[in-house]
Symmetry: C2
Subunit: 222 residues, 2 copies
DNA sequence: AATATTTTTTAGATTTGCCTAAAAATAAAA
DNA sequence: TTTTATTTTTAGGCAAATCTAAAAAATATT
């Protein structure tokens, strides 16, 4: 019923990787957790004994029902702390992740429920990712890539697919942040680049590559 | 520059015990940390290598300058989190300790400074203990035992020497909590018991033993 | 001072979580 | 279908943090 910080980090990593490829390979986990594949195999055997993962040698792994339940709890804690750090302590939305990576392991049921109430039961973290509720229910992220929108539509930036420093710099350059309303003026068929307008700034061109990394809330479409 | 959770807990325990008896004995530490004396000896050798403690076999230990600096940082984090838990998350002052025991190990300098600012730079934790500032300065606790006050004096309850469940029950019974203004009506020489009055309640008798565990702020004296 | 008791340390194990190097299994290419 | 390359596992080791049992040192008692 009580897991180590390492175990929790493994479970969360599997949860994340699982959403794009299942089963999750040993090597993918090694990259994600910045450890050696041999260490992954080691831990997967332990997690299997504890019935948190389904794992057969050479076949990769996936979370069991119990593992999924645990993962959602960790994700909940992570995202609630991120919200707290951004909203109450005024951290920048790109600084909150590393701190939440530690806070997420402080597991006191009461603590998280009260934090949730104190924050006013937020539904999304500062990156636009949904926060699971106390029973583990999680909203399907109503986010779509900016490239999927048609010309002459508006949407609110709610997240990033790739949060590399390069990407963050590009956004800073363009005055785009979480919550910014972006409007697509034109789409260029040749290289699929977009002409984008944001309030208070002149229009500018963005490459398809960059636009694919920007996630927006679909609802706002004009 | 970066210490494990165990190391931090040892340093904090030495800091606490040091305030009453120095040097700190191996057995005292074993009791405080709920481990075996052999484990203490082991860890003291490691902490000595890291120059956090002064330790010679059979002679007990004390904190080095660096160890003291570290201890004050941990105490600062612990007490700021306790304040947060009580003030913002509405935890009872006797529930905050265990949670802060975990949160204190999340060591991100920025985090603690911003938390401090968010809380309005509190000077005392919910138990009335002083919170070290960011440079490690700590106020001498202006607390005295209730027994040291003379008859016909008033004072504000600010802490407890012993926080056992029995003690907490006794206080609950008498409607005494942190912040309560207590007035000493009489002192009985025979058994050193006290007649005490608190606003809105009839006077009652308290044993010397109990009164010694109640810490008050001296300033309020009538 | 000699003996008994308590405190502390050493010796030897165990668990967790990681590593490197080598072997084995699987997948891809020739 | 061999051969080659990649992925994954095994084997063996190491450091941290704990334990038990036994030895040694320090204290207390007779
Ligand atoms: Mn983490
Ligand atoms: Mn996030
Ligand atoms: Mn602690
Ligand atoms: Mn306290």
């Amino acid at each position: 019923m009580n897991y180590s910080i390492s175990e929790e980090n493994y479970i969360k990593a599997i949860y994340r990787l699982q959403s794009t490829r299942e089963p999750v390979s040993t090597n993918a986990l090694a990259v994600e957790l910045d450890t050696k594949p041999a260490s992954i195999t080691d831990m997967l055997k332990r997690l299997k004994v504890k019935k948190l993962v389904i794992y057969y040698p050479y076949q990769g792994c996936r979370l069991s029902a119990e593992g999924t339940r645990l993962a959602l709890g960790i994700v909940r804690r992570h995202r609630l702390w991120e919200y707290f750090l951004a909203e109450k302590l005024k951290f920048n939305w790109n600084e909150v992740h590393d701190i939440a990576e530690e806070l997420e392991h402080v597991s006191n049921g009461q603590l998280i429920e009260r934090l949730d109430a104190f924050l006013g039961f937020p539904r999304f973290d500062p990156h636009g990712d949904p926060i699971p509720d106390s029973s583990g229910k999680i909203a399907t992220p109503s986010q779509v890539k900016l490239t999927t929108l048609g010309a002459h539509t508006k949407a609110k930036v709610s997240g990033l697919a790739d949060q590399s420093q390069d990407m963050l710099n590009l956004l800073q350059q363009r005055n785009i942040t979480i919550g910014t309303i972006v409007e697509i003026n034109k789409k260029f068929g040749f290289d699929h680049s977009l002409e984008i307008k944001i309030p208070g700034n002149p229009p500018f061109i963005m490459s398809e590559q960059a636009a694919q990394n920007i996630l927006v809330h679909h609802e706002l479409e004009a």
